[in-house]
């Protein structure tokens, strides 16, 4: 691209050696239209740090510059749009989770026109003080009609990433697993638990979301068995990989913990290789795992401390600094100030110092630190400032100075005078928050533990254990021992066995540490509302004073505070900020954190792409299409199709230059004057057998079936228990104990369920069997005055004469040389034959009919003509002319209800309810427009008096409406209040376009004299 600025090819923050990167494989990538370089093994975040990029986005509400704060899934700031083409755009990618690949193109999702010159920052700075929590609710609430206007601007300002507008070129898939033990997280505790579980012979799955396993060992200095921790990790992985009972997944995040130990794992299979998956590979896979026992070894996220301007680029969490230095060999700055409330925060200062950069000071909020870290600082000559805190940092786009005060023992107020320390990076550690998220997904509530200053997973009814940091075990030696024990115990539980633990537990040196301090919100000489902003949730711009304000406004439940301030929403789901926010709420309300409680985390733990959710279930695999046996002929003959349920039905068959109107008129005229043919195969067909079939039909249909003889058919109406029409169709008696029921195309599956539930739960004593045979038969319906002549040419063994083969009879015989059931039933009012043959003969018979049909002007017609033809005769379509509030009487179909049957059939009691018997119900009638050429729109509302004031009293609506070429006028059906008693009266249809159409209520059979 021409407008690209020349990249900085110097990785000035890259260390000359070290790190788990491959320096032989240099990678060029793009960020905000500039080229940069990194190495294979980098994340996008580590590569940006290597190149000295400080500002990686602008904040959501105040548009403040933001930098990289963390090194993993919990990162709130470095949210990127990734993708080199429109089709491969991926929004809201955490730069800390995105492996670097050749040609990666990324940009900050937030910040317009650029992150360094942000037009919105003026608003942020000016508006900052007035944009408290609930700002959007309060400001843009009125008038409600303006919301759509506001929303566009708010959304643009909010600056979340955007989706691709093209079809995703990649493929995704799903995989099911059944395992005895699923271990979530491959840090030291997870690996240990997996080894122990696998040692029993159990089927074990181990999933880890990072590109490399090892968890905290990837950046810690702790040794196992006297060697670097990662040596043990490599040995452990080898052991697991060589065990055929173990499945180990990398870059696979367990995102959902669902009922009955069903977990979903989102595996990113190729996101480290490129924008798009290599040929033949799926980009992501969703694993669906049913686990006997689940062991959570999800670790913990380090909490930053909350202080003034703590969102300035250069403010990070301590472990992230170690992570970048040790794993990626990049140093996020030149001079460091550490603020910590525990011993673990010291490590990043040591790492920083050991690579030769300046550590200005370690500021410890406690008076006393552990002897190991005190010794470590002393040996390096690093200044430690005890019982103090960084209350504020200064700078514009990067930290320049840290303001340090002494603080009280409990950390609730500052003492003495300010001290300013020059630095460009401030790393903080307020402690570790166990990653309890998955434990909450099935309803368990986390429990606060004062001793570890964090929430741990609560009790559960699922078969679930926790090991390592997520269980509050921050000491490596203890965590490994416990994990080994639990791994074996979990496997035994899943296997119902008593195996002894057989795995060796690696040894590590004991650590002499001092107790951490429970401090979350660093005091400032000014009140939080007057001090510079102190951020709790970076991604949603939630500040300490905002949380305090929301409690003052009465939002005291933590769930309410969350929703009012938006704390914990967003891609990071509050992984860094939530506990700090809860502590601030607790403090404001003068209660403990345990009393305040936590919000409940729901799936998913991290964002999951729609591609992974959909898997292979796209297009036809998501919504299969059903085709009749004659589909090929329909295609060859230019049919336009309509989707009915999943069926592709011919809609009409246009000839050269015909539009739909012309084609339908021609098809309707041909059917009434000559002969038409319809593919009716999609009608639902249920084969019913058993000696009680007759009685059963009498109970589920409204009419009588006791006397229907073999060889005869009958139209039946099916109602629900409420008396409303549910389905209809023709059922034929094949033999005394054998019937074939037809249903509407869309109702077939429901009707089968309906028959089954009544048979199995209400009348199990009845001898009756159901079988869906919809797909077994092809149904060819020929209708029109010449239909008998046509059929006679192909069928010689059935007497087709009117006297012998009467309306509503069926006969078996041969048509075009194949066995057929021929029905004299009609949905057009014409003389018709419905030819049913085994589906694989369908096309043969269809073609044979056309070979003989040319001289009769045999014309194929589709669903549109079918609708017109049936409407000309007043035949209803359930679901179009009925809507679930219509009884048989409302349809003027009382003739199809046999009230005197001995058994109280389904629907009988319902249709005798007071409301169903009252006068003035809406009834199905036909409507003739005064002007015959005007076709009423379906759904048009009827009124009796068009000159009444608005809102008018509506008396019904149009359900079906067409132009009939046979009648030379429009025809319509509708449900009109008291319509059957008001034949000849006019009703009016005021339309949205200003026209009012007058129509007369008439009988539904347009051919009736």
């Amino acid at each position: 691209m021409n407008n690209l600025r020349t990249g900085q090819f110097t990785q000035r923050n890259r260390l000359p050696a070290g790190g788990r990167i491959n320096r032989d494989e240099e990678i060029t990538f793009r960020y905000n239209n500039q080229y940069y370089r990194g190495f294979k093994g980098d994340t996008l975040a580590s590569a940006l740090i290597a190149n000295g990029v400080s500002v990686v986005g602008r904040s959501f509400k105040y548009s403040r510059p933001r930098g990289i704060m963390c090194a993993g899934v919990e990162e709130p700031n470095a949210i990127m749009q990734v993708g080199s083409t429109e089709a491969t755009q991926t929004p809201n990618v955490r730069a800390t989770e995105q492996p670097l690949f050749q040609g990666l193109v990324s940009s900050a999702v937030n910040g317009w026109p650029s992150v360094n010159v942000d037009a919105m920052s003026v608003v942020g700075k000016l508006g900052g003080d007035v944009m408290g929590p609930g700002f959007y609710y309060k400001t843009f609430m009125y008038p409600a009609s303006m919301w759509e206007t506001y929303e566009k601007f708010i959304r643009k300002a909010a600056g979340l990433g955007r989706c691709s507008t093209r079809i995703d070129p990649d493929r995704y898939d799903h995989m099911n697993h059944h395992v005895d033990v699923l271990v979530v997280g491959a840090g030291p505790a997870g690996l240990m638990a997996a080894l122990a579980a696998a040692g029993t012979g159990a089927r074990v799955m181990l999933a880890d979301e990072q590109t490399e396993v090892g968890g905290s060992l990837l950046f810690s200095t702790q040794e196992l068995n006297g060697k670097p921790g990662l040596d043990w990790v490599a040995t452990a992985c080898d052991a697991l990989d060589n065990n055929a009972n173990v499945i180990r997944l990398a870059h696979a995040t367990v995102t959902g913990y669902h009922d009955h130990n069903f977990l979903t794992i989102s595996e990113r299979r190729t996101h480290h290789l490129g924008d798009s998956a290599p040929a033949g590979q799926t980009r992501e896979r969703l694993h669906k795992v049913r686990a006997g026992v689940v062991i959570l070894a999800t670790g913990a996220h380090e909490r930053p401390l909350v202080f003034a301007n703590n969102d300035l680029p250069g403010c990070m969490v301590c472990s992230a600094v170690s992570h970048y230095i040790r794993r990626y060999a990049v140093v996020p700055g030149g001079s460091l100030v550490v603020m910590t409330a525990n011993d673990s925060g010291y490590q990043c200062a040591f790492d920083w110092f050991d690579v030769g950069r300046e550590v200005t000071a370690i500021v410890d909020t406690r008076a006393v630190a552990g002897s190991d870290v005190v010794e470590g600082a002393k040996s390096r000559g690093i200044t430690v400032i005890p019982a103090s805190a960084v209350v504020e940092v200064k700078g514009s786009k990067r930290v320049k100075r840290a303001v340090v005060y002494a603080i009280s023992e409990k950390g609730n107020f500052v003492k003495g005078d300010a001290r300013e320390l020059d630095c460009d990076t401030v790393a903080t550690s307020g402690g570790w928050s166990p990653a309890v998220h998955l434990s909450c997904h099935t309803g368990s509530r986390p429990v606060w533990r004062d001793d570890i200053i964090g929430f741990v997973p609560g009790a559960t009814h699922e078969n679930r254990f926790e090991v390592g940091s997520v269980a509050g075990e921050h000491d490596l030696s203890d965590a490994l021992k416990h994990a080994a024990k639990i791994g074996c115990q979990a496997a035994n539980k899943a296997l119902d066995a008593q195996h002894a633990n057989s795995v060796a537990i690696p040894q590590c040196d004991a650590v002499n540490s001092a107790a951490p301090m429970a401090i979350f919100h660093i005091p400032h000489p000014k009140a939080p509302s007057r001090a510079p902003k102190q951020f709790v949730d970076m991604q949603n711009d939630v500040t300490a004073s905002g949380i305090q304000m929301s409690t003052r406004e009465g939002f005291e439940s933590i769930e309410h505070v969350k929703r009012y301030t938006a704390m914990g929403f967003g891609t990071d789901q509050g992984k860094t900020g939530n506990v700090n926010g809860m502590a601030i709420v607790a403090n404001t309300l003068n209660q403990t954190i345990a009393e305040t409680g936590t919000t409940v985390f729901r799936p998913n733990y991290r964002p999951v792409t729609f591609g992974a959710v959909a898997g292979a279930h796209v297009k036809e695999l998501f919504d299969p299409k059903r085709f009749s046996a004659m589909h090929r002929w329909h295609l060859d003959n230019g049919a336009k199709f309509e989707t009915v349920g999943q069926w592709m039905r011919p809609w009409y068959f246009p000839r050269d230059g015909e539009n739909m109107h012309d084609a339908v008129n021609r098809e309707c005229l041909a059917t009434r004057n000559d002969v038409g043919i319809l593919d009716a195969s999609t009608l639902g067909k249920i084969d019913i057998q058993g000696k009680d079939t007759r009685e059963f039909l009498g109970r589920v249909y409204t009419n009588a079936w006791a006397k229907l003889a073999p060889g005869r058919c009958r139209y039946g109406l099916m109602c629900g228990e409420d008396g409303m029409v549910m389905d209809d169709g023709v059922t034929s008696c094949l033999a005394d104990n054998h019937f074939l029921m037809t249903t509407t195309t869309g109702g077939a599956a429901n009707v089968l369920n309906w028959l089954e539930i009544y048979h199995q739960t209400e009348w199990p004593e009845m001898d009756v069997y159901f079988n869906s045979v919809t797909d077994h038969w092809a149904t060819l319906s020929i209708a029109g005055p010449k239909s008998a002549s046509l059929l006679k040419e192909l069928c010689t063994d059935i007497d087709l004469s009117e006297d012998s083969f009467k309306f509503m009879d069926w006969r078996s015989g041969n048509v075009a040389g194949v066995p057929a059931r021929v029905y004299r039933i009609s949905f057009t009012g014409e003389h018709s034959f419905e030819i049913n043959v085994a589906a694989h003969y369908g096309l043969h018979v269809w073609k044979a009919l056309f070979e003989h049909g040319v001289k009769y002007n045999l014309t194929p017609y589709g669903t549109e003509s079918m609708h017109v033809l049936r409407a000309e005769k007043g035949f209803l379509i359930v679901g179009q002319d009925t809507d679930g509030s219509v009884t048989p009487e409302d349809l003027n179909h009382g003739w199809a209800v046999s009230y005197n049957k001995p058994y109280s059939f389904i629907g009988k009691r319902g249709m005798r309810r007071e409301d169903c018997l009252r006068p003035n119900r809406k009834q199905l009638v036909a409507l003739a427009t005064k002007e015959p050429d005007v076709v009423l729109p379906e759904g048009a509302q009827a009124v009796r008096n068009p000159r009444q004031s608005i809102p008018m009293t509506m008396v019904g609506h149009i359900t079906s409406s067409y132009y009939s070429a046979n009648l030379g006028r429009s025809i319509a059906m509708g449900l009109i209040r008291d319509g059957i008693n008001r034949m000849g009266e006019s009703v009016y249809f005021p339309l949205a376009d200003g026209r009012t159409i007058e129509a007369t209520i008439v009988g539904t059979d347009w051919f009736a004299e």
Partner: protein, 122 residues
Amino acid sequence: MFLIYCPHCEEQREEDEFHASGQAHLARPADPDACSDKEWGEFLYFRKNPRGLHRELWQHTAGCRKYFNIARDTVTYEIHGSYKVGETYEPTFQSHTSEQPGSEQRDFKHHGSEQPSDDTAS
């Protein structure tokens, strides 16, 4: 996603294979024509929504197509037992949430004269 035991197939199967059909033990009145409109309305429309143990009718739609009942805790979603239509099932476990009065098998003839009970109170 539930793991459901089909008492007809005698296997634990994935929820995908099943279809929930609402409250179990809803007997159709023996003589519908003798029911008042109110009684019929209750049979048609009033359903329990208990907090705790609930009896539900499910169909093994993608399996044997048989209907059967399950006893499920609506708080924890634990399924305590599956049993065939026509059978009874008395839970023998310690429920996390107790079975509510009124969630016993529903006998329409006794229930008909009562006001719809509020099963949601805990």
